[in-house]
């Protein structure tokens, strides 16, 4: 028999695949840092000097005759919209990047190069996802906190509602969960297709699909508050709420759609005794956020389980 090539050391230094991930994805890392810094900068500017200028413009320009949108106000809203856009597209960018990069490694065989060093395929995928997940989560957390800071300062209130889609998505935990789902979807797409460009597309489309479905389901993830009004008061929804179903109440207490509108005689004919409106008050913000976050994280876990199972079945 031959002698062993080496004598194993007592405490071997483990492999450090995360360093290799950072080295390989240096370009993306720089791009993400630049974009993240720009987004944070825009939010900080809007919170500080931009907001002050906009608020001053708001006070001087808004009169009983209406508002004049001056440049400071426009810039303020642009900065806010840009940051919200950045938070909104992060999941898609994550999905596309994960799909393309993992798909490319499988396509041209460099994944096999890593697996035949001392890193198992499972560990390779886990590291390849954990490093960007940590960076994305850190960056998005800062953006969300800055966005909340700006939102709470409430300096120029126009089109700034807690329930509007972009604002809701940028103000809480779902902004952290969706990028993780994107990464997982991109990874699964890459493992399924083993090619860069199709995986990029499939990852982004799958993320968009989940996002769209959950966007539709979003208001129904927490029980509505129902408020009723009499025939004389009519609809009686409080301000600054997310409105849901509304209609008329008949004498039997049934909720029916309101076909009469303000026509009193029509209402009498249909036996309308009052009106109801379903809504989410601002206090439902966190329950709605946490429910959706939970579902997104569940979907992420499921996607990752599928991805790892697939990888483990294919390799030894």
């Amino acid at each position: 028999m031959t002698a062993l090539a080496t004598v194993p050391t007592a405490h071997p230094r483990p492999a450090r695949p995360w360093r290799s991930v950072l080295r390989l994805q240096r370009g993306l890392l720089i791009v993400w840092s630049v974009i993240f810094t720009a987004g944070s900068g825009a939010l900080l500017w809007a919170y500080g000097p931009g907001g002050s200028a906009a608020a001053a413009a708001w006070k001087t320009k808004c009169s009983v005759h209406g508002c004049d949108w001056s440049a400071p106000i426009t810039n303020y809203h642009l900065a806010r919209a840009a940051a919200e856009f950045l938070i909104a597209i992060t999941p898609y960018v994550a999905a596309a990047a994960a799909g393309a990069l993992i798909g490319r490694e499988l396509e041209n065989g460099t994944a096999g190069l890593a697996w035949t060093q001392s890193v198992s395929p499972t560990r390779w995928l886990a590291t390849g996802l954990a490093v960007p997940a940590a960076l994305l989560t850190a960056g998005t957390t800062v953006l969300v906190l800055l966005h909340r800071l700006l939102y709470d300062a409430h300096q120029v209130p126009v089109t700034w509602n807690w329930w509007s889609d972009r604002t809701f998505s940028a103000n809480g935990t779902i902004a952290l969960a969706y990028p993780l789902l994107g990464l997982a979807a991109g990874a699964l797409a890459a493992l399924l297709l083993r090619r860069a460009v199709p995986a990029l597309v499939l990852g982004a489309v799958a993320t968009a699909l989940v996002h769209a479905v959950l966007g539709l389901a979003r208001p129904h993830l927490w029980p509505w508050v129902t408020r009723t009004g009499s025939v004389s008061t009519g609809y009686n929804a409080p301000p600054n709420v997310l409105l849901g179903d509304q209609g008329a109440i008949t004498a039997t207490g049934a909720h029916v759609s309101d076909t009469c509108f303000t026509d009193r005689t029509c209402a009498k004919a249909f036996d309308v005794t009052g009106y109801y409106v379903d809504y989410h008050p601002a206090s439902h913000f966190w329950p709605l956020q946490l429910m959706e976050t939970g579902i997104v994280l569940g979907a992420t876990a499921l996607t990752l389980t599928l991805a790892f199972t697939l990888l483990r079945r294919r390799t030894a």
Partner: protein, 293 residues
């Protein structure tokens, strides 16, 4: 032969896709440690699949393969593998590629080995991988493999894109590795002549099956090239190949008893042996005793 086999396969099979054809089927062989083994066969015979299975890149569809006494996935640290197309990250420099090798390995990694292999090829560490020639890429891939100080080195068509001089250098490097550390080397090729001088063990694969496995010396000794008059009965010796030209019969036999003294016999070359088996798929597969799994 006792001790741990470098590779041991039993009823090994691999099919790509549920309805795809079998790339490899019913493979059973044992490769003792410390050998330099040639995996020979025509294109598409299943050589690459076998090496990828041994490297733990693929899971077998049926049967089992063990590497250095364990499953391929558990032997990763001690096995090095260079794929046929030498995949490397094109955006990295040579030096960065070697640093990546250090990061992806435990402290078995010997940076000085990697640097020496690269330096011997006059490679600039600052060159990007995408600017290198095929031969230079092979050298970097080999540097990654050798710096692991592997007990088993799997090379899939390592010489395919090297010029004769580079081939010679590379073979020298590998033989030095085998001699110095007792590394078991398994390399595939469809050019038999390329491996004849440096290998002591043969694994002939054809049509996804093992056709011939054993020490090259023993395999050659077990076969005889025979010239005899036409219509000569060759029984009871198993015939690998026979051809009649005019009144002359020439055949490759695996004699089971002493041969008829009238026949004119000669020793076949390795290439003749391999070609005879490949031309005659119905000839039964043989394994020398020590490699029978």
């Amino acid at each position: 032969m006792t001790g741990t086999a470098a590779i041991e396969a039993a009823a090994l099979g691999k099919r790509f896709g549920r309805r795809g054809g079998w790339a490899l089927r019913d493979c059973a062989f044992r490769l003792p440690a410390g050998r330099v083994c040639a995996v020979v066969g025509p294109n598409g015979a299943g050589k690459s699949t076998l090496l990828a299975l041994a490297a733990g890149l693929l899971a077998p569809t049926e049967g089992a393969i063990s590497v250095l006494g364990t499953v391929p996935g558990a032997a990763r640290e001690r096995v090095a593998y260079v794929a046929q197309d030498k995949p490397l990250y094109p955006q990295l420099t040579v030096a960065e590629t070697l640093r990546m090798g250090a990061d992806l390995n435990t402290d078995r990694w010997d940076a000085s080995v990697a640097q020496r292999v690269v330096a011997d090829g006059d490679l600039n560490p600052k060159s990007r991988i995408r600017t290198l020639s095929g031969g230079q890429c092979t050298r970097v891939a080999l540097a990654l493999a050798l710096a692991k100080r592997p007990e088993l080195l799997l090379l899939d068509e390592p010489m395919a894109d090297l010029d004769p001089l580079a081939r010679h250098e590379m073979m020298g490097l590998l033989m030095a590795q085998a001699a110095e550390f007792g590394t078991t080397i398994v390399m595939s090729s469809h050019v038999v002549a390329e491996l004849e001088d440096s290998c002591d063990h043969l694994l002939l694969i054809g049509g996804g099956r093992v056709r011939l496995a054993g020490e090259i010396d023993e395999l050659l000794a077990a076969h005889v090239r025979v010239s005899a008059p036409a219509q000569t009965a060759l029984e009871p010796h198993p015939v690998v190949e026979s051809r009649t030209t005019g009144r002359q019969l020439s055949a490759l036999l695996r004699p089971s008893t002493p041969l008829d003294t009238d026949w004119h016999t000669s020793k076949p070359s390795l290439e003749e042996l391999v070609l005879s088996y490949l031309r005659n798929p119905e000839a039964s597969a043989i394994e020398t005793p020590e490699t029978a799994a």
